[in-house]
Symmetry: C2
């Protein structure tokens, strides 16, 4: 019994953490419950029940299946479901009519052939990447509706009635879902994507702001006060690269909202996201370097490289911060350019001093130079990011 | 008209490419068509139709929704659907009975409250990562079935009849799906995962085998004959890291098959996959280095480092090859250990010579040393991979 209580407490605290982590989850659950309750009125309210009959079941099913977390996902699935049912239902009715012409014996055979062909074709079509991204669910519903309508052993007029009811209930279900999803604290996938990209760039900026000074602290200093808050954030970028694609696919379905218009250039976000990922990639190399470094720089070298390295890091950080704020406010990043120019100049200086100086004798360069190389790579990246941010 | 013909030809060639790329896609489509045709016999065959009635529709729906590409995915979805329907159906019937006790007026209100509560709870539960991975679909079906059963305005005995029919048709649908999925050229997610991991390690090996000699060719040589076949493969590892997680989730549902037993340590594959990814990460750094190098090594340095670097690269490649074959044959990788030892020794040598040698004056080290650092990192990785491969 004690174990059970302990487990319950554990589950409770986990639930609380999950809700606190993103309160929208709780709201989403409540929204779904509300939508379902609204649709169930179709059953309770006599006049409505009489016109829809048992088909009202389809509306309930639609709500459960279609209602997703973000508006874009709900809209995408809803439209897919509604139009797939409409089109495939029509085709199914046609196939049923054709098969019925061939008499009592031929009908099952011809229907089976139709179903087999349509099912094979549409299933194969689901493998096309472009269809998979936007219309995967619609394809499945098409197969479903076509089979149901063409197989059912009813007469023609009954089929049209059934189809009409099915389509109309599904439309009602989808409409209720979409209206609730948009009207009660909507979660826009596009907004999510936008915030996510800005946040990721901010994480990069955070890293650079901390990195310069951290690198030039001596090892002893570093062990004394471990101020590595700036290191962790960027790692989450590396772990969650797939989410942006999903959000992008949802965002494409969304109408204009807030400061985003319909057909907002969501694709740009993907590009920026990819570049951010690349940049985090390089930061990871830098960081591994930092943590594995058991080196001692001679004083001369330190003074030689400290200034340009610090400047590179700090200016990159500033440029990224500018990019973040310009993405958030949707303005042209004019300030960022200045900072990238500065960090580029610093990189040039560092490269020159690395080439020319005669300080390099008999010291362990294993850890120093990768940092410089990666640093210059980073500046390329910053430059690149800037170009794309301009396109926003 | 010409544009249309051109487009059709384009679609045709794309289709052909998709089928050729993985012929299993075509087989999958045919399998689904076959299963659907078999299930539709429920409708045509009189005695069966009489016992199932219109509920036979549920069997068709189940097939379309549950039949997935791999056995694991089909089995997972099927079991989820069957048991979720059974449990939630029972709960729904109970809720309906309770609500009916409260009379004509109270019934809709109490039912609504039940539906609202269950929908909210289960929707929120879908956010738990552990539930999402294995039981997401089951949760959805639970909400669906519970709502359908409890809302429907039927009398108690009718509900049990409906439920019984629904559950039995869904069981039939799931069984047909699973049997066809396993009996006709089954695609095991576990086998996919196994092959994928082996292939990825092979790609790494390919890189190392080519890298050593490529690096020490002079720049002119390199431009003359671009033999960069070994470079491309590893990139695909970086692009497709999410697939393994999906396959893992499916593989957990699969019974023993071929040389894999039930409860095969699939988790080990994820670990190896993560390490492979890390390794590809570092290779990417090496490769960027290689392609951006506009350096000239002095002859002395070249001779100094060539031997250990070559050895590191070649031996790492050999060790990885051994790992691949031992994963494929499921044996202990004894040979691999020898090669990792050798490459470790080479790394030590290289490190020593980098520290001590007095050759470093006045030359551009920007490109040389990262390679060495990353090389030694790689050896750690190889070592790590080996440990895990031993666990297979």
């Amino acid at each position: 019994l004690k174990g059970l209580v302990g487990k319950l407490v554990e589950v409770g605290s986990k639930t609380k953490a999950l809700g606190k982590d993103d309160p929208r989850r709780v709201i989403h659950a409540l929204k779904l419950g509300l939508t379902l309750t609204i649709v169930s009125i179709l059953y309770y309210y006599k006049p409505l029940y009489e016109s829809f009959g048992v088909s009202a079941m389809w509306a309930v099913m639609t709500v459960v299946v279609v209602f997703e977390f973000s508006v874009g996902a709900t809209l995408g699935k809803g439209l897919n479901r509604a139009f797939a049912t409409l089109i495939a239902g029509g085709l199914g009715a046609g196939a049923h009519h054709l098969a019925a012409l061939s008499g009592h014996v031929g009908q099952p055979i011809i229907t089976s052939i139709f179903v087999f062909l349509i099912a094979c074709t549409l299933t194969f079509m689901r493998f096309f990447p472009s269809i998979k991204a936007k219309y995967d669910y619609g394809m499945m519903i098409s197969i479903l509706t076509f089979s149901l309508v063409s197989i059912s052993g009813l007469r023609d007029e009954e089929i049209f009635l059934l189809l009409q009811k099915r389509v109309s209930t599904i439309f009602v279900g989808v409409c209720v879902c979409v209206v609730i999803s948009i009207s009660i604290s909507p979660f826009w996938a596009g907004e999510d994507l936008h915030n996510r990209i800005a946040l990721n760039i901010e994480k990069l900026a955070l890293f650079f702001e901390g990195y310069g000074s951290e690198y030039f602290r001596t090892l002893q200093d570093r062990e004394a006060n471990k101020d590595e808050k700036f290191i962790q954030p960027y790692k989450s970028i590396l772990e969650s690269s797939g989410i942006e694609d999903t959000l992008y696919n949802f965002a494409r379905w969304e109408p204009g909202h807030g400061c985003f218009q319909f057909r907002h250039p969501w694709k740009q976000y993907l590009k920026i996201g990819a570049l951010t990922y690349q940049c985090a990639f390089r930061i990871d190399a830098l960081q591994r370097n930092l943590s594995s470094s058991n080196f001692q720089l001679s004083q001369e070298i330190r003074t030689e490289i400290q200034e340009p390295c610090m400047e590179m890091s700090v200016e990159s950080g500033k440029a990224l911060r500018q990019l973040v704020s310009s993405i958030r406010e949707m303005t042209q990043p004019t300030q960022a350019e200045i900072h990238t120019h500065k960090s580029k100049a610093a990189a040039k200086k560092l490269k020159a001093s690395l080439r020319s100086s005669s300080l390099w004798e008999n010291c362990d360069l294993l850890t120093l130079i990768p940092a410089a190389t990666v640093g210059s790579l980073l500046i390329d990246i910053v430059d690149c990011t800037e170009k794309i941010a301009e396109a926003v």
